[in-house]
């Protein structure tokens, strides 16, 4: 195991395809996740990016952080654009009209672009079985536009459109289960990941990229600006999300659930929540309600794990 731990990092692509100089906030977990994912995507790839933080921080004319072919068009159509890229390349190569071979297609988008406004386009692309990898970088709100709630925002979190107030606890709905929605399309590969577990994340991206058909990876991306967390705690908070069972890391390969990181005993959710300003207003009763829900959801997931 020791030896393995030394060996694995050596296999990582040393080339940065999402290069520094972009304007993400200090401690941005999403930028880190994109950087790691890009290492695994390699160079023979085309990236289709939704409007959102990663597009905005890395592509201001005349600069770009993308060293692989990259296209951004609008907010909600990323999966559809990627479908077109895939279909176009496929026919061009079958007609011998391109010299590129086995080019992979990665669609990358935030939680808003994925679970809200772009859900229809994503569902269409998955259902049509385009050969593409869709990566959702979930920072649990619309960060690019100023921390508004999305359907991926956790229960109780205060955002600018689900603000905590005298009559509100903040977000009143439970986080949408996007990986389950993706899996319901019977695609060959679905996984969750977090940049606090970099090798796991990179291995999953590589797996998704080589799946026969569409693949979906849901990546928890800590956002110090939106979550009101200290920028130097990003990695720690990501680990706590996993260790509390709030964001378990797993894979669904051809319908079979596999746990990626086993947690012998879940830590209390407060270990995770207390570090974040977005939950600061919550009463003990609400936190208890969240703890119950996390326990239940985790137990349900464990039942599925083979």
């Amino acid at each position: 195991m020791e030896k393995y731990a030394v060996y694995v990092p050596r296999l990582v692509n040393k080339r940065e395809n999402f290069v520094p100089g972009h304007r993400a906030c200090i401690g941005c977990g999403e930028a880190l996740a994109v950087r790691l994912a890009c290492k695994s995507l390699g160079e023979n790839v085309i990236i289709v990016n939704a409007t959102g933080c990663m597009e905005i921080v890395a592509s201001q004319i005349p600069y770009t952080s993308w060293r692989v072919p990259w296209i951004h068009t609008i907010f909600e159509n990323t999966a559809a654009v990627a479908s077109g890229v895939e279909a176009g390349l496929k026919i061009l190569s079958s007609k011998g009209k391109t010299t590129s071979k086995n080019v992979k297609i990665a669609a990358i988008a935030g939680d808003g672009a994925t679970s809200d406004i772009g859900l229809q386009a994503l569902s269409g692309a998955l259902e049509r079985r385009h050969n593409l990898l869709y990566l959702c970088f979930d920072n649990e709100a619309y960060m690019n536009t100023g921390i508004q709630r999305s359907s991926s925002t956790p229960f109780g979190a205060s955002t600018t459109t689900s603000p905590a107030g005298k009559k509100s606890i903040g977000q009143v709905s439970w986080k949408k289960n996007m990986p389950a929605i993706a899996a319901a399309h019977n695609i060959p590969y679905v996984a969750t990941a977090c940049p606090s577990y970099p090798f796991d994340l990179m291995a999953k991206v590589a797996k998704g990229l080589n799946a026969e058909g569409p693949a979906y990876i849901h990546i928890l991306s800590i956002c110090p600006t939106g979550w009101r967390t200290a920028p130097d705690l990003t990695i720690k908070i990501g680990r706590l999300a996993v260790e509390t069972g709030i964001f378990p890391l797993y894979e669904i390969e051809n319908g079979e659930y596999k746990l990626s990181v086993k947690i012998p005993e879940l830590r209390p959710v407060t270990d995770y929540m207390n570090l974040q300003g977005r939950f600061r207003h919550l009463s003990d009763a609400t936190i208890e309600e969240i703890q119950q829900r996390v326990n239940e959801e985790y137990a349900k997931l464990m039942e599925k794990i083979v």
Binding site: E43, N44, V45, I46, V48, E55, I56, S59, Q60, I61, P62, Y63, T64, W66, R67, V68, P69, W70, I71, H72, T73, I74, E76, N77, A79, A80, V81, A82, S83, G84, V85, E86, A87, G88, L89, K90, I91, L92, S94, K95, K97, T98, T99, S100, V103, Q120, A121, S123, G124, E127, R128
Partner: protein, 391 residues
């Protein structure tokens, strides 16, 4: 030599897409465009057209997938109508601004509400400013010819812009016409292969669709405008060469007995054919009237309109769309704007008609012309009139 075949216009449109050997078709069905995409799906399914047909889940995705396939350099076609064109709206701007030569046939249809599947130009006018080259056609032959031209114009390295060919829903899409379908070799001769200069390609990575801060946005838009205006030369060149090769001739503003006419009627699309019969009748009765047909809608043919209207006293414009609360028909407003600075210009009268598939007969056109003349003489307290509307 091309054969003349009796065919439904929608099928002929699809067959033209086959003749240019399109790579990707991404479309969502909507009346009255359905026969075009159904036939394309069939051609692909039967192996007659070697293309990838993407049966997307909406028009928004149809146009979005077109962006993707065009960006990798694939020859890309789609078709839509009315509501579908509106659902594509935000994506249309991206296609032109990112210089992606997507070709689209629009089976013109009214917009809801009330729901109407029948034809008018509300959908066209709502996408007027999306930066696409836009061409109106009058019959099935023109739909085929101009679709061929659209591929050649849009993909021309001097242009690289998306092109819409506007075809009146039902009046054209669903009629059977004798059409000269060009031979495969003629098409290959006329439409060169698509060679998009900077496709998305790992061998030469590019970033497409970066965002513009205020210091550069206006410049990018101006560059796009200069390019769209300059495309007119290429359009004219294409139509000239088309005429040489196929002996059918097209121009931005076409005239019918207009040279000496004191009174001109301007129409676009399928109405032009019926209107020309009204002109025949009236000329036979000794009236000095003529017809202008607007073929090129974008880039707008300012010079040609000024030239064509120069000697007339009255110009009656028949729009097939409204501009609610506005100055009259959208086309008429542009004609007025084009003529305003001219020293000698006709009086311009605005009519709107044919909304939601309402037909206008030959007699109807005669009535419009006579009424237009009357309004030009006596004036009117209305900006425009909806022909035949019951109050």
């Amino acid at each position: 030599m091309a054969k003349r075949v009796g065919t439904e216009v929608s099928l002929a449109v699809a067959d033209t897409v086959k003749l240019v050997n399109a790579d990707v078709i991404s479309a969502y069905p909507i009346t009255p465009q359905t026969h075009i995409v159904e036939h394309l799906a069939e051609l692909v399914a039967n192996g007659e057209l070697d293309a990838n047909f993407i049966p997307v889940e909406s028009e928004h995705s149809a146009m979005s997938a077109c962006l993707g396939s065009s960006a990798v350099g694939a020859r890309t076609f789609t078709a839509t109508a009315g509501q579908g064109l509106e659902l594509m709206h935000e994506v249309l701007y991206v296609a032109s601004s990112m210089r992606l030569p997507i070709i689209m046939t629009v089976a013109n249809r009214a917009l809801s509400a009330p729901l109407s599947v029948w034809g008018d130009h509300s959908d066209v006018m709502a996408v007027r400013d999306t930066g696409w080259i836009q061409i109106f056609v009058e019959n099935g032959q023109e739909a085929v010819d101009n679709l061929l031209c659209a591929f050649r114009i849009g993909e021309d390295p001097r242009v690289l812009l998306p092109v819409m060919v506007h075809l009146d829903g039902f009046y054209l899409t669903h009629v059977i016409e004798p059409i000269f379908m060009p031979e495969q070799s003629e098409v290959e001769n006329f439409v060169p292969p698509n060679q998009y200069p900077l496709p998305l390609d790992p061998n030469n990575p590019v970033s497409m669709g970066c965002f513009a801060p205020p210091v550069i946005y206006a410049e990018t838009k101006w560059a796009q405008e200069v390019n769209l205006r300059a495309s007119k030369d290429v359009i004219l060149e294409c139509w000239n060469e088309f005429g040489d090769q196929f002996q059918r001739h097209y121009s931005p503003v076409e005239s019918y007995h207009s040279e000496d006419a004191r009174v001109l009627l301007l129409t676009m699309g399928s109405f032009s054919e019926t209107a020309s019969l009204a002109i025949d009748n009236m000329r036979n009765a000794g009236k000095n009237v003529g017809l202008l047909k607007l073929r090129l809608w974008r880039p707008f043919p300012f010079d040609e309109i000024r030239q064509a209207a120069r000697n007339a006293d009255v110009l009656i414009v028949l729009d097939r769309a409204m501009s609610p609360g506005g100055p009259g028909g959208p086309v008429c407003s542009e004609i007025k704007a084009a003529l305003y600075q001219e020293e000698k210009r006709p009086k311009v009268v605005s009519f709107i008609g044919g909304l939601g598939g309402r037909d206008i007969t030959i007699e109807g056109f005669e009535e419009i012309i006579n009424k237009g003349i009357e309004i030009s003489e006596k004036g009117s307290n209305q900006e425009y009139e909806i022909f035949g509307v019951r109050e």
